[in-house]
Point group: C2
DNA sequence: GTCTATACACCGATAGAC
DNA sequence: GTCTATCGGTGTATAGAC
């Protein structure tokens, strides 16, 4: 069943809003992002935002949900032949490349206020738990293959990969200007899995 | 030359203010920390804060300067017999244990606003550059000894250690409640240097 | 130097016309 | 559903009495 023209327009507009939110979250963080900023970036009035989203929190939650869904889609589309360890590396690589393109990192550890409200958002919690479960399965499979340290709890591994995907080192290396993007991403992925000792 | 009683009182009061700032920065982050919060935590009036510090930014900068000085002191007091790689590990371990005790992480990657103002604070920049220089020397020495990967730029190594000291993984593992503090710190230090592959 | 009181600006959210 | 206008609340910083 096709969507009506109005519904399509509505969906397109909403996607544009989420794009703006993504840019602003990456640039200023949740606490410093204002609804005026979002409205200006989209090019609509502030009041109109509230016809699409009930609050600033739900706006951010929607943007983060979309990104989590994208991550799940990337995982789902990977070749089944790929080894678990390579799937994990590819996912981290994808997340870092996406951040380089201006996307907000996965875990909004930047704002306690946002974290709190997200934990109350059922849709977001459901998605993040699904992603956690898939990553956990990959970690366990990689441990069984011997490509990840068997003595580490999978929590430690999953969180460490998450953290690396949000790592400020990415920004620091980029602003230093000494390495191109591909090289930077390589360094981050490699040191995450192989360590600094070499 | 001894300080007058008044001067001593002033210094003690100022240290108490910085303690409060440290607690609040760790708990709420810079953007959400208010001067009312600080005043309430110290137990003085908000107006009095401005007799000690000119602005919220300079207040946060002073707290971070104190912490950076502490880090430099820890480095200075280490036994000269300790291998460079072990000094680096011990420094990371110290930073993580300090965070577990409620201290703010070194790099305020949590707030773009704070980062900006800090880069304009000459005192802070001088301290952080001194710390960077010392860490860089340790990294190079460790690379020469073969205990750190020689193919990695020292920038990558130094930033990665910094990032690990601020890593949200610490909070996640703690709130999971599955490991005690010592175990948690061990996991973080070990995976940083040895990687996840084992 | 500490307090109370306040100036001034900004933000999230809403109201109401079209 | 989009706009303009505005309310209520809060935050930084300052003024002025003591």
């Amino acid at each position: 069943m096709r969507l009506s023209f109005q519904k399509q327009q509505f969906a397109v507009r909403e996607d544009a809003i989420l794009d703006a939110v993504n840019v602003l979250l990456a640039k200023k963080g949740f606490d410093l992002m204002t609804m005026d900023d979002v409205a200006a970036e989209v090019g609509i009035a502030k009041g109109s935002l509230y016809k699409h989203f009930a609050s600033k929190e739900s706006l951010a939650a929607a943007a983060l949900c979309r990104m989590t869904r994208d991550t799940l889609a990337v995982l789902a589309e990977m070749s089944p032949d790929l080894a678990p360890i390579d799937k994990l590396k590819a996912t981290l690589r994808w997340a870092l490349e996406r951040r380089l393109k201006g996307a907000v990192p996965h875990l909004p550890s930047t704002s306690v206020a946002l974290q709190r409200s997200l934990m109350l958002n059922l849709g977001y919690v459901r998605l993040i738990m699904k992603l956690n479960a898939e990553l956990k399965q990959l970690v366990i499979a990689a441990q069984n293959e011997g490509s990840l340290d068997r003595t580490l709890p999978h929590e430690v591994i999953v969180y460490t990969i998450y953290a690396r995907s949000c790592d400020p080192t990415l920004e620091y290396l980029r602003t230093s200007g000494r390495y191109d993007d591909a090289q930077t991403v390589d360094y981050l992925v490699r040191t995450c899995f192989e360590g600094l000792n070499g």
